[in-house]
């Protein structure tokens, strides 16, 4: 049959269910794609033999009632996978082989899928361009000089290049939504607590959430349904009944109230981003939604707040990498303290070190009130902005990013200009809300741009429904030429 790998996950599942293709044939097709896409530098580790074994097992005894029957899936290398190396894009975990499986990946495997490989990402998920990985830059399939976004850059790139039918990433300040926007794909950051954080290499624990990255909204609903759910091993996991997001997907959004926050129109935003936002508003309005102007007055303080909270949490989470129990250990160092210092200096990259130093400083004696406590107070104000607005609206529509994918090296010399990429995505993490980035169009260079839908806590179904209706009426098609193979 024709190349199946450019289809959506949902279509592929249908083809497997109707026996047009076996799981083994499907897995082989992805292996072939991956082997001819080395230029994109997407994979840190591949698990082809193991995947082909699992595919064979599935074909011998298929169970088509599962959500992900016989699906090979590559995942971000931040999810611990039992007996498969998990690096978090860092030299300090270059030799780490977990003896356990993250809850989210276990959930995916329990629904019939299996691991195809581990995807490159920014080191410890700290980055917006996948340029901080110890394993090198990932290339965006949209263009050979472009970053794929970050930190889930390997995930977005692999998906857009047909190297996996769907994938998962993690989002601490935009790490799923921004790369989705840069590659013309769909990415969802769920409500804080919906997906278990157990077994995910921690960055900033009050912000981190795992979520799906897919080609379509329907695929996103399928993946979210498979990966989410209560987990007693995560003390912040929400204990609620599992939802059937894909079965309940509806494209009728008549009467829904969509908030348009004026603070998301920022200075120097390219004209195309603004035009795309207008197009998005028009589509939703034509579908019967009501547009309502809202104000989220503390939006401009979200990034500065984030750059206190996230590094503070990171500095304590990353204190565990000391070269004693696992991971890299420096050969230098005469005594214990020097061994720690050399190990951490050689094991971490520049961006991670910067953030550990910021975090250590803002938590240090005499500065805690001025920085960390201040940030927690502003975080309260940011959350309150959303709480107040959501009393009168169902969802919020904004651009996902202030620009399309930029060139490799363009922003590496100025950390603050890199951080500004996440200006539209960070507020959502601070408030713990769900948000979806969906492809909406291209800029004048032909590079994809996304729009973001923000929902109330646990209102994933509603933003998926709005996204579903939008997708059917938007007419966006991701045209990527396979220049790399």
């Amino acid at each position: 049959m024709a190349d199946i790998t450019n289809q959506s996950l949902n279509e592929i599942i249908e083809n497997v269910k109707t026996k047009k293709i076996s799981s083994t044939e499907l897995t082989k097709a992805y292996v072939k794609n991956i082997e001819s896409a080395k230029k994109l530098n997407v994979f840190v580790t591949t698990t082809f033999d193991q995947a082909l074994d699992k595919a064979k097992q599935f074909d011998n005894k298929p169970n088509f009632d599962q959500l992900l029957p016989g699906m090979p899936l590559a995942v971000k290398d931040l999810f611990c996978t039992e007996n498969t190396k998990t690096t978090a894009g860092s030299n300090i975990l270059n030799n780490f082989i977990p003896s356990y499986e993250s809850t989210v990946t276990k959930n995916l495997w329990d629904h019939g899928s299996f691991l195809l490989g581990k995807l490159n990402c920014d080191e410890f998920a700290m980055g917006s361009s996948n340029e901080t990985s110890h394993f090198g830059n990932v290339i965006n399939p949209v263009g050979d000089q472009l970053v794929p976004g970050g930190s889930s850059g390997g995930s977005s790139s692999a998906l857009a290049a047909d190297l996996t039918p769907a994938t998962i990433g993690t989002d601490t300040g935009g790490s799923i939504r921004q790369p989705a926007s840069f590659t013309g794909t769909v990415g969802l950051k769920p409500t804080y607590g919906l997906c278990s954080r157990w077994g995910i290499v921690a960055f900033a624990s009050s912000l981190d959430q795992a979520g799906p990255m897919t080609k379509t909204i329907k695929d996103c609903a399928i993946m979210l349904e498979a990966m989410s759910g209560f987990d007693k091993k995560d003390s912040t996991s929400i204990n609620k009944k599992k939802e059937q997001y894909s079965k309940n997907l509806k494209d009728n959004i008549k009467g829904l109230k969509i908030g348009i926050p004026k603070e998301y129109r920022v200075d120097n935003m390219p004209k195309e981003v603004d035009e795309l936002w207008e197009k998005g508003k028009k589509i939703l309005k034509d579908l019967g939604a009501q547009l309502i102007d809202i104000s989220l007055p503390h939006t401009k303080y979200a990034l500065p707040t984030y750059y206190i909270v996230a590094p503070a949490e990171a500095s304590s989470n990353l204190a565990r990498y000391d070269g004693v129990r696992y991971g890299y250990r420096s050969k230098q160092g005469k005594d214990l303290i020097e061994m720690y210092e050399k190990t951490r200096s050689e094991g971490f990259g520049d961006e991670v070190k910067r953030r550990i130093l910021i975090g250590t400083y803002v938590l240090s004696s005499g500065y805690y009130d001025a920085y960390y406590l201040k940030a927690q107070k502003v975080r309260q104000l940011i959350k309150k902005d959303f709480d107040d607005s959501f009393k009168k609206i169902d969802a919020i529509l904004t651009p996902s990013t202030p620009s399309s994918a930029f060139k490799i090296g363009e922003k590496t010399n100025d950390p603050v200009s890199m951080y500004l990429n996440d200006i539209f995505t960070v507020p959502v993490n601070l408030a713990g809300l769900p948000a979806l980035s969906m492809p909406a169009g291209v800029d004048n260079k032909g590079h994809p741009l996304g729009l973001q839908l923000i929902g109330k806590a646990l209102d994933e179904q509603k933003i998926l429904n709005i996204g579903y209706a939008f997708e059917k009426n938007c007419g966006f098609k991701n045209e990527i030429k396979k220049w790399w193979s």
């Binding site: 030799n95 780490f96 082989i97 003896s99 804080y192 607590g193 009050s206 007693k232 003390s235 912040t236 929400i238 503390h298 401009k300 990034l303 500065p304 707040t305 750059y307 206190i308 500095s315 204190a319 000391d322 004693v324 129990r325 696992y326 991971g327 005594d335 214990l336 303290i337 020097e338 061994m339 210092e341 050399k342 951490r344 200096s345 971490f348 070190k353 910067r354 550990i356 130093l357 910021i358 250590t360 400083y361 240090s364 920085y371 406590l373 201040k374 940030a375 927690q376 107070k377 502003v378 975080r379 309260q380 104000l381 959350k383 100025d414 950390p415 603050v416 951080y419 408030a431 713990g432």
Partner: protein, 95 residues
């Protein structure tokens, strides 16, 4: 406020990260530009605002303090950079 090189070396010491003398200059520049950005927060009066300590409307669950696994010493030691059958090994601490 601005961070000078000595302050940065002190923070690096607290964070147990050795910093190359050659890199201190550029690190100082980067951190100062980040702190300048962060300090926009000082524009806001937050005297009457409660700090947000949990994003969920639920308190952390507690569980019974019981062993839920065990007998996995070998598994745990497998990733150790240096081990001696039953222990993690570190450079000599006591003379």
């Amino acid at each position: 406020m601005s961070l000078d090189k000595e302050k940065i070396k002190h923070v690096a010491k607290l964070a147990r990260i050795s910093v190359d003398e050659a890199k201190v200059e550029s690190l100082t520049k980067d951190l100062n530009s980040i702190f300048k950005f962060i300090e926009q927060l000082n524009e806001l009066n937050t005297d009457k605002v409660e700090p947000l300590t949990s994003i969920l409307n639920q308190s952390l669950r507690s569980r019974k303090d019981e062993i839920s696994d065990g007998k996995i010493r070998e598994k745990i030691l497998k990733n150790s950079p240096k081990e001696n059958e039953e222990f993690f090994v570190v450079p000599k601490v006591v003379e």
